[in-house]
Amino acid sequence: MPPDEAVVLEAAPAHMELRASRRQLVLEAAGIAVSALGFGFVYGLAARDAGFSPVEVLAMSVIVFAGAAQFAAVGYVAGGLAWPGILLLTALLNARHLLYSAALAPLLRDRPFAERAVMAHLLTDEAFALAMAHFRRIGRADAWGYWVAAIGATFIPWNIATMAGVLVGGSIPEPNRFGIDVIFPAAMVGLAIGLISGRREIVAAIVGAGVGVAVALVAGPAIGIIAGGLVGPAVGLAIPAARAAERAPLGTGRSAERYAMPGSHFDDEERTDESRREDPPT
């Protein structure tokens, strides 16, 4: 598939040759794929532990294809949260994809509409990170690179691993003895860390957790989670932008660093004046 040439990342530094960047992308994708395999496997275990059938787990992984939201749904379902609440929280949790989508739009606007529609379904934190880092290296878009990032590094490993997890999980007696019950909260905390890029996120997370627990003790876990998810960001926004110490907002090229191989994309000193979604060209 030929690379896109209509759009050029003018702000990027000296560009790497396409073939070299693709080689690097494949290496990085392999690392992400291993991580997706491991994480997908434990998701399958957790989902099975919560009562999901293999068909339901597969449906979640293929149709929703959003690791954090899928993991969260395991908790919602296990906790008895009503579906409207699950959908509200899923929409909120996945709203960050709008930032990724908007950042990629100028780069991919010359691709056919149908192709972009499929690309959108496969847009995850990891796919964005790998693809955007690749685009930055070569200074323009490369659809081949996007598919490697979205399908090769995430979609295929994630789906294979979740099925393996849900199928193998059935043969594990007393799963809590093996720590299966801590996988869910540990994964939630770990994913939250991956989304933190400044003081506002830290405050939102701490307040979200505190409000969530306090409200849960009074009104039940489901209401607590919704309250924490809505109040936390509002309090986080109270921190003035000048004191937020924001280093790599979601949707910027620098945010890609958090998900892919640390240090492999660009130097920390590079483009220190970067602000939100500066990367896409005009």
Binding site: M60, G179, G190, G229, L237
Partner: protein, 109 residues
């Protein structure tokens, strides 16, 4: 084999796909107010942290929800530390599970 949650998966797709597609398919949609974009950026950490905290610190009994302190705190806290330090979620999960296994084998509930 239950298939009830397949419908939930479809509904979750319907509320997820617009966020992924609006920017790519209708580029003007990225021009949300800065305040709204900032709020969106904070929603993820807040919800995930609330989920983890409620899952670990609140247990539901016949008498209603009550505060819980246990080995899970240590396991999840260790995962947090490992992910913050190494930026490796899978490693963090392994550490959390290992602590839970060892703790329970040692009789720490």
């Amino acid at each position: 084999m239950s298939t009830q949650l397949v419908l939930l998966a479809v509904l979750m797709f319907l509320v997820t796909y617009p966020s992924r597609a609006l920017g790519l398919l209708a580029p003007a949609m990225d021009r949300l107010p800065r305040r709204a974009l900032d709020y969106l950026q904070l929603v993820g950490p807040a919800i995930l942290a609330a989920l983890a905290a409620v899952n670990v610190m609140v247990v539901t009994t016949d008498a209603g929800p009550r505060f819980h302190v246990g080995l899970e705190w240590v396991a999840v806290g260790a995962c947090l530390a490992v992910v913050a330090w190494r930026r490796n979620l899978f490693l963090g999960l392994i550490v959390a599970v290992a602590i839970a296994i060892v703790g329970r084998a040692a009789g720490i509930a």
